[in-house]
């Protein structure tokens, strides 16, 4: 318990920021950007404060706020974070200032752009701290609307189709998710994630659902089947958001057409809402169902991991290539989630897989956002070019640019010494014993990803310098300063992952022990 409602303040701060940007930044894009940047730094400071005050000895919820909200429906204002939530809050807080800096090219209606961006951040914070379905759903949807408008208004030439697809896919997922949780509410009388998880753990969920939904009304469906149906309903909502392979077709369009600053948030933070949903909501509440459905789920995850890099290989557009590579990276997290749902397996393996998944979420957020930032910088320099084959030999005119982008690429590829490696190592170490076949097949993807990223490296940076790019401007001082912390963080996490794993340890062991 904390005297000051820190998490509420954290969620409200970007909303205040959005209002401030609209007022202060009206008519001047510089003022709008700097106001937004200051507010995002404030949020970052607050998240760091949370990080410092986070008690790493316990795996239960901290900074809890609890008050009745709508008693008639059993809806509470219930906030709290454990290590997982904390990590996601920190990630969102780091990404938004990056995205704001990467959006320096936005000049038209800039105040609205940055206000929407801050609203999106508020949606992220809200979703990562909520412990009640109703509350969580508000922010889940709230983050969708700014994202839609950011793509729709400032996106590329095919933004109309991209934003509509993004919206429709996510809405369909939300509808089934909402139905599932309404059914759970009707069976159990609560929307609280923790209460539902506890019921599931104590094997009370199935009897409750069976007692409420039997009889002729439901065509004689058994409780177990119905719960499975509810699981698939909730699954769809998250599967679209992450996304998992058959539900991913909105993603390359949306990532490619969104302005790069927004793509950074989409891939860095919003896709994590899906993985977070799997970890916080799906696995604790529907663990049993996940076990039953383990094989199909594993198949989805492996398909996501293996097929996405191949799709990325044939892309001509850097953003689309990175988009598919993002799908691949999050596939690992999902494989870990499905692997640790298994009823067998050693605690150590599960802990390792979960730790790997969490690190991977953070790393991918950081690295993918950095990569899209570099693409944004390229676009600014070339007037919108971002084809894999549009460049060549950039190494000569822009060595610093290529060096830093190379680091980000290698981090994404999982080179030891950089952040990507630690996460993937822990992941494979963890889920190899749990799911040997699936992880063996997934190894192919490591190779394909390496091929993909090295190809990009080669096509863009090496080779003869084309006439056109002989005067490709290198990074300016301001850009170097703003990129430096991100690159530094990649190194820090690469050599000292304990920095993050330390505070997470208690959460991980608590989480895994509840699974057993």
């Amino acid at each position: 318990m904390n005297a000051l409602p820190l998490l509420s303040v954290l969620t409200a701060l970007p909303i205040v920021g959005a209002a401030a940007v609209l007022v202060i930044g009206a008519g001047c894009h510089l003022r709008a950007r700097w106001t937004a940047f200051s507010f995002s730094l404030l949020s970052l400071a607050l998240s760091l404060f949370l990080w410092c005050n986070f008690c790493s000895a316990t795996g239960t919820m901290q900074f809890v706020e609890r008050a009745p909200w709508l008693p008639s429906l059993g809806i509470e204002y219930h906030l709290g974070i454990d290590g997982i939530g904390l990590l996601m809050v920190l990630l969102s807080a780091i990404l938004v200032p990056m995205a704001v800096l990467a959006s320096s090219h936005v000049k038209e209606r800039a105040s609205l752009y940055f206000a929407l961006m801050l609203l999106l951040q508020s949606g992220l914070f809200g979703a990562f701290t909520a412990l009640n379905f109703f509350h969580w759903f508000l922010f889940w949807e709230l983050s969708l609307i700014p994202a839609f408008f950011l793509i729709r208004l400032w996106g590329g030439p095919r933004r109309a189709a991209a934003s509509t697809m993004f919206f429709v896919y996510t809405m369909v997922g939300s509808v089934t998710l909402l139905l599932s949780f309404l059914a759970l509410y009707i069976a159990t009388g609560t929307f609280d994630f923790l209460a539902l998880a506890q019921m599931a753990q104590q094997h009370q969920l199935l009897p409750a659902v069976a007692a409420h939904f039997t009889g002729a009304n439901y065509g004689g469906i058994s409780g177990a089947r119905l719960l499975l149906l509810l699981f698939w309903g909730a699954f769809l909502g998250f599967a679209v958001k992450v996304p998992i392979m058959p539900f991913h077709t909105w993603l390359p369009e949306a990532y490619a057409e969104a302005p790069s600053g927004v793509t950074m948030l989409l891939t860095g933070a919003m896709s994590k809402m899906g993985v977070y949903g799997f970890l916080r909501i799906l696995l604790p509440i529907f663990g049993q169902q996940m076990q039953w459905m383990r094989s199909p789920l594993m198949t989805f995850a492996v398909a996501t991991i293996v097929l996405a890099p191949f799709a990325a290989l044939v892309q001509k557009d850097l953003k689309r290539a990175f988009a598919y590579s993002s799908i691949n990276h999050l596939g690992y997290c999902l494989l870990a989630v499905f692997a640790i749902a298994a009823p067998f397996g050693a605690v150590a393996d599960k802990s390792s897989a979960l730790a790997g998944a969490l690190l991977q979420m953070f790393n991918h957020g950081l690295t993918a956002a950095a990569l899209f930032w570099f693409v944004a910088l390229m676009e600014q320099r070339t007037g919108g070019l971002r084809g894999v084959n549009d460049f060549g030999g950039l190494r000569k005119p822009a060595p610093v640019f290529c060096g830093l982008m190379g680091i980000a690429l290698f981090s994404s590829l999982g080179l030891p010494g950089l952040n990507g490696f630690v996460g993937e190592f822990l992941l494979f170490k963890g889920f190899f014993p749990l799911a040997p076949i699936a992880s063996s097949i997934s190894l192919i993807a490591l190779l394909t990803t390496a091929m993909l990223l090295l190809t990009i490296l080669q096509r863009v940076f090496t080779g003869p310098v084309s006439e056109r790019w002989s005067s490709f401007p290198d990074l300016t001082v301001a850009e170097r300063i703003s990129l430096a912390p991100v690159i530094a963080l990649m190194f820090v996490l690469g050599v000292w992952p304990q920095l993050f794993l330390g505070p997470l340890a208690a959460t991980i062991s608590e989480y895994v022990s509840k699974l057993m």
Binding site: W69, L70, P71, S72, L73, F134, F137, L138, E141, L142, I145, F149, R152, L153, A160, T164, F167, V168, M171, V172, S174, V175, L178, L179, L182, A183, Y185, I186, H212, F213, G215, A216, N217, Y218
Partner: protein
Amino acid sequence: MNNFSAMNVSAMNLSAIDWSALFHATLPETALEVTALLVLIVDIAFLRRTSHWLRFRAAGILSFLGILFAAVCILSTQPITVMADGMVAITPAGKVVELGLLAITALCLFFTFDEDFTDHVGEFVALMLFATIGGMLMATTLHLLVIFLSLELLSLSLYILTAFNKRSIQSSEAALKYFLFGGMSAAMLLFGFSLFYGIADSCNVFQIRAVIDNAPAQDLHLIILATLMVVLGFAFKVAAAPLHWWAPDVYQGAPAPAAMFIGSASKLASFYLFWNLLPANLALPLLVILAAVSMLWGNLAALAQTNVRRLLGYSAIAHSGYILLAFLGNGDATRSLLPALIFYILTYSIAVIGAFAIASIVERETGSSDLANFAGLSKRSPLTAFCLLIFVLSMAGIPPLAGFFAKFNLFALFWQQQPGLWWLVALAIAMSAVSLFYYLQVLKHAYVVEPAETAAAPAPQSASMLTRFVLLLCALVVIILGCNPQPLLGLLNHALSGMF
């Protein structure tokens, strides 16, 4: 319910009526009636030759005073009574509905201030007040005769209001359709009422219910026929498919304040009356069909619309479908759905009134309320566009706006009571997702689409500061009620608990 049956034993007897109590009980309606007459006199006698600006404001302010007085009467003096065989039945729920009607009327009157579609300002405002009186009487009676009379008072006023824009042929066409369909539905309703009277030998709704509950088997077909007639009559009033044909035309053709009123106050009054009147479980299958068809038809037809007002008309049909879920509750538990019902209609009313006000602004600026005319609205007037965004998203049921909570609350409670009708909830939620598409079309035009090259330059800001302020206020209310619905919901729960 039992409290009331005792009072019905004595047949109607004029000498037994306490006239002073009756006056007290109907003071709000009387006050509004006097206000309406005053508005007429002042406008015709003194303001005839002055500008629309002054006339609408004078009539509006006079009406506000009357409405305020009526509201104070309801809140402070109007006792909870049933008298004269249920002809006057003041209940807590009825009072809440009356207050809601007054608030909605006041809001609609605000948006007449910028209008100039008619030279008969006094008549227009007075008719709106008459319609409100009709609605208020509907909320405070349990007697078939008075129900029918007050319903006709409301309906006739609305027919005339719809036809009020004499410069527009659409307005006349809409009114004619409304009137013809309305006349037919009134006939059906009256037929149903007469059958009920024949069955129960009473006009009191509670007595009729008691008789129906214990009716011998051979009367059943008669009761079913009567129920069918009444339900169809009401389906027309609330524009539920398949008796919705008038709605799109009226929403498009009627003057904006009249359309607002039809979309909000008339719905509130009709739904509440329906709630009191409904012969409980008999109508269930029919209502299920009405609800499902309304959701499907309204939402799917709205997809194809190119005129915002017409689109709102079809979306109103869909919303009637959602609202009908509240009538499908389970036996005695049904009454717990009433707060959800009223909450839904109130929040929807704010959104729909706001949307119509904005459509009317666009109409005055660009000549029509076609989707294409909304292009560039966000550049012309960002505030109006923002308010439109809030209203439209609230109707679509996007969190954290009031419309989302209203739907969530209603659907959750309904499912709890009628688990067997889970597919109706699934359909409602799925259809809400479909509705997003056409609501987003409106926003797309307001925010994204550039005005066509050929389009004439829009007239300068036609909305007064006051209008824009009220719009913003409505938008804020929608946001606040969405984030924190508990105060209003708690109030409704408290006021309506235990009543019907």
